[in-house]
Symmetry: C5
Subunit: 318 residues, 5 copies
């Protein structure tokens, strides 16, 4: 679907314009949104707008990195929006062709951020405040705001993993930890290039229009800086949790081993003694002694107690 809106020099909104009728002279500025376009609709990029083939290729190809390219009379931007789907971070690409006269947005998947801003513009309040860069700012701001719930959710899951270990199996916890690490890694692939893109936008000498709205785009950059730090530090927390588990496991194995060794060490000699006096040799003098049985039991107790003391002195009962 292609949808077009134009703002006249008198700041009135002309809605539902046909793509063919959009000409650069008629409107103060206009916005064309390619929303999951068909192949035929995509052709307008080259025919109607005559954008550069490489920019069009970036639109069509799957998941280009966030970036900006300068072309003669406009700038081309690639941004990523993110969403979670079945424990995977899905990244959707949004493309923008922006100059003072037009903003062309292109996305092959649904983009609720663009629809949100589209409707806000059509609501028709303060139309004079709007221009192409304000539309662009609003969409980017919305995109970046939508990163936060995802990472807050991952943080909450990490807190759960960290705290109620006892309720779930180790297998589950490790598998979830691995998934969270993976999702953080995927988030990083959008957050870091988006941060670098905003940095370039704020510091480029070519983008005068963005410099004039510096405080707005700076606000988005702040959020991306914070996101980048959150992603990085949550990855460190996942590693810390895993290492703690590993240490505790190794320590528990040690303790279990000690119990086993103590049990074995105490019972092995006693069982041997019982075995010896259970032998059927004809000539075994002890067997005929009156207190033979009594002495054998005493011997067992002495041995068990000695072993116990020995392990105690080695500090195995701590």
């Amino acid at each position: 679907m292609i949808r077009c809106v134009g703002i006249t020099d008198e700041n009135t909104i002309e809605k539902d314009i046909a793509i063919q009728d959009i000409t650069q002279n008629k409107y103060k500025w206009f916005w064309v949104d390619f929303d999951k376009p068909t192949d035929e609709e995509i052709n307008h990029l080259s025919n109607t707008f005559e954008f550069h083939p490489l920019a069009i290729e970036d639109c069509i190809q799957k998941l280009q990195r966030p970036k900006l390219d300068y072309y003669e009379d406009h700038t081309f931007y690639v941004a990523h929006s993110v969403r979670e789907q079945e424990r995977e971070i899905m990244r959707d690409e949004l493309n923008f062709f922006v100059n003072e006269n037009f903003i062309v947005t292109f996305h092959r998947t649904e983009a609720k951020e663009i629809t949100h801003v589209w409707e806000k513009l059509h609501a028709g309040r303060n139309t004079d405040m709007w221009d192409t860069f304000y539309v662009f700012y609003q969409i980017l701001d919305k995109i970046v705001d939508n990163y936060f719930p995802l990472i807050y959710k991952l943080e909450d899951e990490l807190d759960l993993i960290e705290n109620n270990t006892q309720d779930r199996s180790m297998n589950d916890l490790m598998s979830e930890l691995f998934d969270i690490r993976n999702m953080l890694l995927n988030l990083r692939h959008s957050v870091n290039p988006m941060r670098d893109l905003l940095y370039r936008m704020l510091n480029s000498h070519h983008l005068v229009e963005i410099k004039n709205r510096r405080e707005y785009f700076s606000d988005i950059y702040d959020h991306l800086l914070k996101l980048a730090e959150m992603v990085m530090s949550n990855r460190e927390v996942t590693a810390d949790i895993r290492d703690s588990y590993l240490s505790l496991n190794s320590h528990q194995t040690n303790n279990v081993m000690k119990v086993l060794t103590i049990i074995t060490s105490i019972f092995a000699p006693l069982t041997l003694i019982a075995g010896i006096y259970g032998m059927n040799f004809e000539n075994m003098p002890e067997l005929t002694w009156k207190y033979g049985y009594f002495f054998s039991i005493i011997l067992m107790i002495v041995i068990a107690f000695t072993m116990f003391l020995w392990f105690k002195r080695k500090g195995w009962f701590k």
Copy 2:
């Protein structure tokens, strides 16, 4: 609560001024403190002071990163103070709007650093020395000074963990180590951006007033550099402690296993021999021998001694 203080051109302090009476012309400079303000009081930011909506949004939203933003006639700063609460580092945000005529401080949580400086100013000594940037310096200095006790406390806890391992369970130690790592990570999230903020303040071409007080803000920057190093190196120490424990555990498991294996290896054949001569076959010649019992005991001793020598030669008793 909003509290206001103004300093006249004659350096006298006018206390408890109403927010409505603060005008930029009447005082040499003034300080307005928004101390846990109500929603109604917050409106003064936009109505009375006409600050930029994005700066106001930063004040209201939870926990913005430390940063500075240039606005036309003032600069906006975000800083973090820290405190420990139930083994978590709590970070409180403090916002500052500063120029030569005014300093507006805004904080939604209690800020003892601001109260400290507020009272110092009201004490009325050397009032001529004070101006808005000196107030700002004093608060920042106090904030950063308050980072040190927290990290010194963590260092002391690490020393305790490192030294008297024997008194507490491994579980406790590992859990505490994890908490300390987490707190250091949280500290890093305030210390590093604070450090970068001070660096920008010292090196910005726009902030002439701070350049003129360079030695003061440099002193805070020094402290933040030291804090950043302490946080980083204490995190390395926590990792070292954990890795040492892991190594020692793994070594102890090894030793415990050796004891178990030696015990089992010595007693298994002896017990088998006792078992064999405890069998009830009618035709077992050894049983009728005069020294059968004696020989069987000798055989057991020989086997036990041989096993012992074998393990000794393998170096298992070291």
Copy 3:
């Protein structure tokens, strides 16, 4: 084999020219391809073209790093193409001598990327669009496009390893993980210097011709940035998988140990009791009791049950 093609000032293609007939004056530009050249053919580099001995040495020697060198009237480039062969990343070196009049390509192994572009040029469409830098761009673009299938394949293998652990032996999985890590390391050795090479090409003050085609070479640079990120993050995923396995293994060992210890702890005392009442002392009063056998069995059940409760209370059955 040496093959030459020249484009005249009238944009006609002259094919199969002998190396001796290529002179810089006759053609608008020409392309000479040294395709697995013999030692004799290599001599043309110094005799016919009089290239610098160090550049020729780089052509001849095995696997120079990707780079560029400025010479008086041309620039010399080294690039890497990659392919997989028996679970190893093979890197092939391609050398380029480029200026406005000629492009000389040199490769000691087969280079399907060069053949692809060679045939595209010979197809003869839009010959006026082509020049030496367009040839160079096309080959580089093809080379870099060929990196993607390799890394996508490695990503798919990682997904397989991560998911169906149960079907293959740990040995196999670890060995494959190691191979994938190794291949990613080898890819990094081509991707990162290629990325740096493109960065230098785009930012060098000497390379006016590349600046004029900035959008084309930028496109390649984008791809290399993405490749570099993919290589790095896939290496992190391999480490995550290995660490997860390690944690799970250590946890399972712990569980197996607990089963062993419980079994041993329950049966060791029972077996001792049976052994004691199997002793052959003449004077063992219990043996003559009417309910001696019954009591001994009861005693065993009580001991077993007590041990069971003790382990249960220690939480070993969770």
Copy 4:
């Protein structure tokens, strides 16, 4: 103690001058050393020299990071000297106020480096060669030279740990490794900021006097670069040693486990057989067979041999 020395315009040394008599006009240059000063003596910093309160605070406070601060007519430096005390790196702070006319050194702990240079100056050779920056260079050079023996000692200890493992307990070795890592970490806290300080000194536009003696201060910088590398690489060696131990331990545990499992697997069935034929059932036909005993022994041997072959085929004896 405060000690003062002045050099006149005729290059004669005036020793043991009282602090009150030091005036900037009387001497070509002078050196005042605050050697573990009393609180009263410290007051001279503000009263006699009128140094900046922040610089004085840095002198008095414990362990400031190495750094330099520019003041109007002099520069203030903080440096660290190091020494080992009971397996801890102790860092002592030395403060310097330097310009062309004076050098004021301040240290709250003993500083043998300063005493060394003090005595060298008082020896009175080549007095014309000396000036305040040469004094400063000599002290810094001495301080940095004293870092080397410490790190060489740690390197030697690491070599010992790496080589004669067999002579000491694992506990000791791991504890010592941990201490060495800790000491290297502490060294890094002095070496790296010292290196950065020297870098700033060499590259600052304000420090003309140091630029004029560039080769001297470069020499110190070289040493600090080497020290920084040695610290870093020795920390890597400690990690390598620990990881090697961990690997070997884990491998040995594996081997010990195999021995235990083989022993248990062979003797468990044999002991069961012996137990079965030791049962007292009235009707056990085998017991009355002539070769029953013989067959039972044969059966045991066959089982033991089969188990042995099975483990051998599994490769457990390698």
Copy 5:
């Protein structure tokens, strides 16, 4: 030994000149080589050449880092050559004093690279092509070329370790891996500063003579870049191998434990039953049953089979 050679303005070589006869005016340029000089010969550095004391100190002291220092009429360089000796990387220091008129080489250990170039010069071909910087280039090129065989050897050893694990003991492999890591660490200490030295040489504004021979010194820089990457990535491979071993070991321990636990779990109850019916109570009804023995054996088989099924269902036989 000191050996001198001079080249006259007519490009004739004068060999075996005495050090006293070398004057800067007589020859177009000359080369003096201090080859393992005696203390007396070292004095020529200060007496005959009047080099700076700090440069001379660097010559004399053990193993200075590679670097360059500018002096008034010449530049001073330190380089490292490497060789393996008993599984350790030995680094030898070579010092160069170079300007257009002379090159003075100084080395306290044998330097086959210098001898190689010395003989090449004395062979007398193309003498007009040679000058001091060409000599310097030739020696550096030779030094760096000699790094490659060492690292190729280490790579081959790593391949061996990775592949035929089964032939050597784990102890040996881990010890060799540790040695290789150590050697790579030592190589890095020469390669990285050498790389930085070449970078500085190529980018310094002071070294016009090197800029004029840029392509030659760039060639060495390329090699050092490649070496640095090889060292780094081989260290990563060593870590990968060690981690793989650790994972596999931990997995094998797990498997061995399972075998042990299964054996123990099956035989413990059977042995107990045999023990019970081996007790000598007078009143044990089962003993007198006709099929008591038969039933007891059946019971054992049922128990063994049940245990087997239980472990099978838990997946322990996979």
